[in-house]
């Protein structure tokens, strides 16, 4: 991206002033190098977002922003109903409520090291992963509707996990106002055998070691110390979310003219929040969020069972669960007034700061854990929400490294075997049903997660707490 098009408004913040059809400016967060390297299409896509009705303040892009369908990935935009605001299926994405869940193990690296391969094999065997994998749970119509309204609370009631887990999940594990009647039969059919499956692509389960602590006090509150072993699960709402996204995107594309919305890009398809279509999408999308929360809860339970066989005392309590593809109603200060806004985060993580009323008591003093996934060979991070985040980005932070090259390019550059061997030299064990998939997800195909996280920290979006290094990666 040409920096000459931007106005620098801080060491880590840049602005595209509103012009033409833009209703608000764009604010891009990142350091000079990240912004310079950012795809020009992020500029165009973020500008497009600012033309949508009812957008307030600005369209924000996170330091890991890259091209997405309609909205850039790493994009945040909030809409006000009273200003004719819209909800956009493209602003949430196909993988509704894709997110990261991190669990403590109470174990140290030395305890894991001797059984690393055994653990990898057991996790790979017990957690359905990759194309064509199905879960052991098959939901009938009533079970499906209960899952779609109950989320992780439903999963716990079915015996997958404990009540205590629910305090460590956004929305306490259950997104309210989800209506299964808004979800098509086809979407439900697509999910029927996919509960408790990891999926493929960039989804994974990793055993990780805490290798660095940046903020001792907050890390203590999060229960993290150097040498601790944790587990992170990255996946979303599986076939259900994809089908909801596909169907509503089509409905919104074909209805745009009826709503008088001029779409600069069909993937920006949206509907007025107060329209029947907008309300149906919100009700269905919330079911997608519940599906993702239930899915990660079940996978956590399967993981606990594997660890329980090898370490009889291991409980694997939940640190936190975040979603990074959502639209949620949140209260923010707008022109000095407390206002309910529909905040879209696509490839961006909610990052509520200390004292936010929606945080569990345990994190109230330090802010929300913000879980950032890296690539197989680099690192993941735990960050914490900042008090000033609300003014900067509606309390949002980055979500990962972001791809630096296409799958196509990655496949031409690396073989799966080569990637696996390189990682083995770094003592990282990989299990995957597809070597081609491993090649496409090669660490070199991703941007520098350290630079992304540093920029997020320095911009004040969230602060660095801990760095995690992968030991075992189960890759979809």
């Amino acid at each position: 991206m040409d920096l000459g098009q931007l106005t620098q408004i801080g060491d880590y913040a840049w602005r595209i002033d509103a012009h033409g059809a833009m209703r608000v400016p764009v604010v891009l967060y990142g350091d000079r190098d990240l912004i310079s390297a950012m795809d020009d299409k992020v500029f165009k896509q973020a500008v497009n977002v600012t033309t949508l009705p009812g957008i307030v303040e600005a369209c924000y892009t996170m330091p890991d922003a890259h091209w997405g369908y309609g909205f850039p990935i790493g994009g945040v935009a909030a809409f006000d109903v009273d200003r004719g605001g819209v909800v956009s299926a493209g602003g949430v994405g196909f993988d509704i409520s894709c997110g990261v869940r991190t669990l403590h193990t109470g174990l140290s690296r030395s305890q894991i090291e001797s059984v690393k391969s055994e653990l990898a094999d057991a996790l790979y065997r017990d957690i359905p992963v990759g194309v064509g994998s199905t879960g052991r749970i098959e939901l009938d119509d009533d079970g499906m509707d209960a899952m779609l309204t109950g989320g992780a609370q439903w999963a716990v009631a079915q015996g997958y996990g404990r009540d205590a887990d629910l305090h460590r999940i956004e929305e306490h594990g259950c997104m309210q106002d989800a209506d299964p009647a808004a979800v098509s039969r086809r979407a439900k059919q697509r999910q029927r055998r996919e509960m408790g499956t990891l999926g493929s692509g960039n989804h994974y389960l990793e055993i990780q070691e805490v290798v660095e602590i940046f903020d001792v006090e907050t890390a203590k509150v999060f229960g993290l110390a150097v040498g601790d072993v944790v587990i992170s699960i990255h996946c979303g709402s599986r076939g259900l979310g994809h089908q909801i996204g596909t169907e509503f995107l089509r409905d919104m594309v074909t209805s745009a003219e009826h709503f008088g919305i001029d779409l600069p890009d069909p993937e920006l398809a949206c509907a007025p929040i107060q329209s029947s279509l907008g309300q149906r999408y919100l009700a269905a999308m919330r079911c997608g969020i519940n599906c993702a929360l239930a899915n990660r809860q079940i996978i956590m339970h399967l993981t606990q069972r594997v660890f329980g066989r090898l370490f009889t005392d291991a409980e694997l309590p939940l640190l936190y669960d975040v979603s990074h593809n959502t639209c949620k109603v949140e209260r923010h200060r707008l022109n000095g007034r407390d206002t309910a806004l529909y905040v879209h985060r696509k490839g961006a993580t909610r990052a509520f700061g200390p004292g936010h009323p929606d945080l569990p008591e345990a994190f109230s003093a330090v802010g929300q854990p913000v879980l950032i996934g890296g690539s197989m060979g680099t690192a993941s991070y735990v960050l914490a929400g900042n008090s000033g985040g609300a003014e900067l980005s509606f309390s949002s932070a980055c979500h990962g490294a972001g791809r630096g090259m296409s799958r196509h390019q990655a496949r031409r550059r690396w073989s799966g075997r080569q990637v696996t061997d390189d990682l083995a030299k770094q003592h990282i064990v990989v299990r995957s049903p597809s070597m081609r998939g491993v090649a496409e997800e090669a660490p070199g195909a991703y941007k520098d997660v350290h630079a992304v996280v540093d920029a997020t920290h320095n911009a004040g979006l969230a602060r660095k707490i801990a760095k995690l290094r992968p030991l075992v990666c189960i890759k979809g």
Binding site: D39, Y69, V131, G132, R190, P433
Partner: protein, 156 residues
Amino acid sequence: MVGEETANLERDSSGRRAGAYYEHYAHDADIGVRGIGDSLESAFAQAAVALTAVVCAPEKVTPAQSVQVVCDAPNRELLLVDWLNTVVFEMATRCMLFSRFDIAIRRNALSAVLWGESTDRSKHQPVVEVKGATYTDLRVQRDDQGRWVAQCIVDV
């Protein structure tokens, strides 16, 4: 990557590639699928072969079982997206892969028979699930040689 039907690879008198074939093309994080053929139907069929080729090598998929589908849309472009999303849906819900597509299109209404078999992870070695076909880089048109080209980006 360029995939081609094994038959009809000879070139005609004008030097153009004859027969129907598919291509993939790189696009940011995802991948583009493109079907090319002398008829709209063959271009749509090849776009679906390209979709399968995102997941696995189509030649590994035996066309042993058939599934009938229909879809319709307001225009050709939306019909392509609907068609590919119908194939995605059948792949996901039946745990099948498809390698042959017999298609009829009348006034933006499509009926088709998908031919394939159940996903076998050791035989097919599937790489990645396709989440859905998108409106990005969506084109259904004749090229300068008069052949139909049907393409879009698929989200994986």
